[in-house]
């Protein structure tokens, strides 16, 4: 027979493969997923909540929830990151709603005191975080999901429950507002000097 006909298939979607292992309850896959995404989920929740302990709860809850719902996860609809952050976002919103008012410790709070920052880069980062904390919740969420997590406008829309067009408009409004806030910060700094 002239035709050897050997067939090798591979999926272009790595999420689908990982999802299959997660659905099968493969502990190594869950461990890998946890190691990969826990710090980012923690950071996202922390930037939104300004409370390290609450953020850790959100990140941890996200995985337990993911374990319960992985059977319904469809990688063709949403990336693994988008799926995880959609759950984390929902938990963050729940947490914010439960708060009577935003805590005094806001997004600008880092794990260390920004006043101790000495390098120019650290100062810029501190300014950026302070300015981010003054944006609306939606603006914060869209900027973090789009640029910190790296989701597309469509995926960010699915996480936030908004159309992609609204996400695009919101991101530009947020970036302009952030630019204004950072400009004000720079002016204040130069006046002090």
């Amino acid at each position: 027979m002239a035709v050897s006909g050997s067939v090798v298939t591979r999926s272009v979607n790595e999420d689908a493969l990982l999802a299959a292992r997660l659905k099968a309850g493969d502990p190594q896959a869950w461990e890998r997923c946890y190691r990969l995404w826990y710090p980012r989920l923690l950071t996202y929740a922390y930037r939104r909540l300004g409370d390290r302990e609450a953020a850790a709860d959100v990140a941890s809850d996200t995985f337990v929830r993911a374990l319960r719902e992985v059977g319904r996860y469809d990688p063709r609809r949403l990336s693994l990151a988008g799926w995880l952050f959609r759950m984390a976002h929902a938990r963050t919103v729940d947490h914010l709603r439960r708060q009577a008012r935003r805590r005094a410790v806001s997004l600008e709070a880092e794990s260390h005191d920004p006043a101790e920052d000495t390098s120019e880069r650290d100062v810029e980062r501190g300014d950026l975080l302070r300015s981010l904390s003054r944006l609306t919740r939606d603006q914060q969420a869209v900027l973090l999901l789009r640029f910190y997590v790296g989701l597309s406008a469509e995926e960010t829309g699915r996480v936030l429950g908004k159309p992609a067009g609204a996400v695009r408009a919101l991101q530009f409004r947020a970036l302009r507002q952030l630019r204004r806030l950072l400009g004000a910060t720079e002016e204040g700094t130069s006046e002090e000097e």
Partner: protein, 363 residues
């Protein structure tokens, strides 16, 4: 962990596309906003303490260990096999009843030899022809696992080598063909025929499954009901390919490894592309491509072609499986011409298609 956020160039490109859709941004403003977005993308991750990380991990693993389906996947292979056997037995009874109701010829009891596969690994292929003719695959080769029907097929086609001659378990040649179908090759079903396969998922690969030793390819339009996992009992409907694979049109998960009935899942909205790599000799050329291993290969303007594709040439094809089972070639590489394909006596060996045509001519 390493930062995995988008790169600065990507952000600028993405924002540029978004700006085109939203409008009202000058190039200078776009550059300024992209710089801000880039600064956000390079924010450092919060580094969880080891204790914090371990606490969350233990919580996850505890939840994982209490997950009902976990023991079936990893912990209790004996119980899992028993559940699959029980599921197969129930389905077998149901199938038997269905076949009886449809007036089909009932398969004869199958004796299982000492080296024959487990009962759950036996598979049935029924052509989708309204129950008029039911074929069966006996995966145990020429041993006592042959069904009466397979033997009858061999008797009806004395010129063809039956599955007992040289086939191992699960080989495509084991597929018994129903009466009246095209006799296109020795012991093989006709490519493109609708087939139905009920069996256990033995392997789950990227874009493919192995069900009772038969490779099942998933395409962009494959409809999947339920959650596919290794050990699940599934029904596959699709078209049989000449290389022995089945391109699945629909897969229904009937029994999960845990023994429960599979819950329905939301219908997919975005297809998963399935990449495929084929090697073989060109059987025929067409206006839009060629035929390889019984599969139509489509060549477009964006296909990279190395060498001259002609009948008999040995080629490697990389591309994606389309809804109709054809392959849209991304790359075609000619690895040799058909001219050097000679037998021991120096006479060129005919391609399979030529053999097949000769066989049919004699018929």
């Amino acid at each position: 962990m390493s930062k995995q956020g988008p790169q600065r160039d990507d952000i600028f490109t993405q924002l540029g596309k978004d700006a085109e859709k939203v409008g009202g941004l000058s190039a200078q403003e776009l550059a300024e906003l992209a710089k801000l977005a880039s600064a956000i993308s390079s924010l450092p991750d919060e580094q969880p303490s080891q204790e914090e990380l371990e606490r969350g991990r233990q919580r996850l693993m505890a939840a994982l260990s209490h997950r009902p389906s976990l023991p079936w996947a990893y912990g209790l292979p004996v119980l899992r096999a028993a559940a699959v056997l029980a599921g197969a037995a129930v389905l077998g009874l149901l199938a038997l009843g269905g076949a009886w109701a449809a007036g089909a010829r009932l398969p004869q009891p199958v004796a299982v030899g000492p080296l024959a596969p487990l009962a759950s690994e036996r598979s049935e292929v029924a052509r989708d022809n309204h129950g008029q003719d039911v074929s069966e695959i006996a995966r145990s080769g020429g041993g006592p696992g042959h069904s009466e029907q397979v033997r009858q097929e061999a008797l009806d086609n004395p010129g063809r080598s039956g599955p007992s001659a040289n086939s191992g378990p699960g080989r495509p040649d084991d597929i018994a063909r129903d009466r009246g179908s095209d006799n296109s090759g020795p012991g093989s079903a006709s490519a493109g025929d609708d087939v139905e396969l009920v069996g256990t998922v033995q392997q789950q690969g990227q874009g493919s499954l192995v069900v009772n030793g038969i490779t099942v390819l998933l395409t962009a339009t494959t409809q999947i009901e339920g959650t596919l996992t290794v050990g699940a009992l599934v029904k596959v409907e699709g078209s049989h390919q000449s290389d022995g694979t089945i391109v699945a049109r629909e897969i229904e998960v009937r029994v999960q490894p845990g023994g429960g009935v599979a819950p329905p899942t939301a219908p997919p909205t975005t297809p998963v592309a399935v990449e495929i790599e084929l090697r073989g000799s060109v059987q025929a050329t067409t206006s839009g491509g060629f035929v390889l291993a019984g599969r139509t290969i489509r060549v477009t303007g964006s296909t990279e072609v190395e060498g001259e594709v002609k009948v008999g040439a040995r080629v490697k094809v990389e591309g994606s499986v389309q809804a109709d089972g054809s392959v849209l070639a991304r790359e075609v590489k000619v690895e040799g011409t058909g001219d050097d394909r000679r037998g021991p006596d120096g006479v060129p060996t005919p391609a399979r298609g030529e053999n097949d045509r000769r066989g049919r001519g004699r018929d």
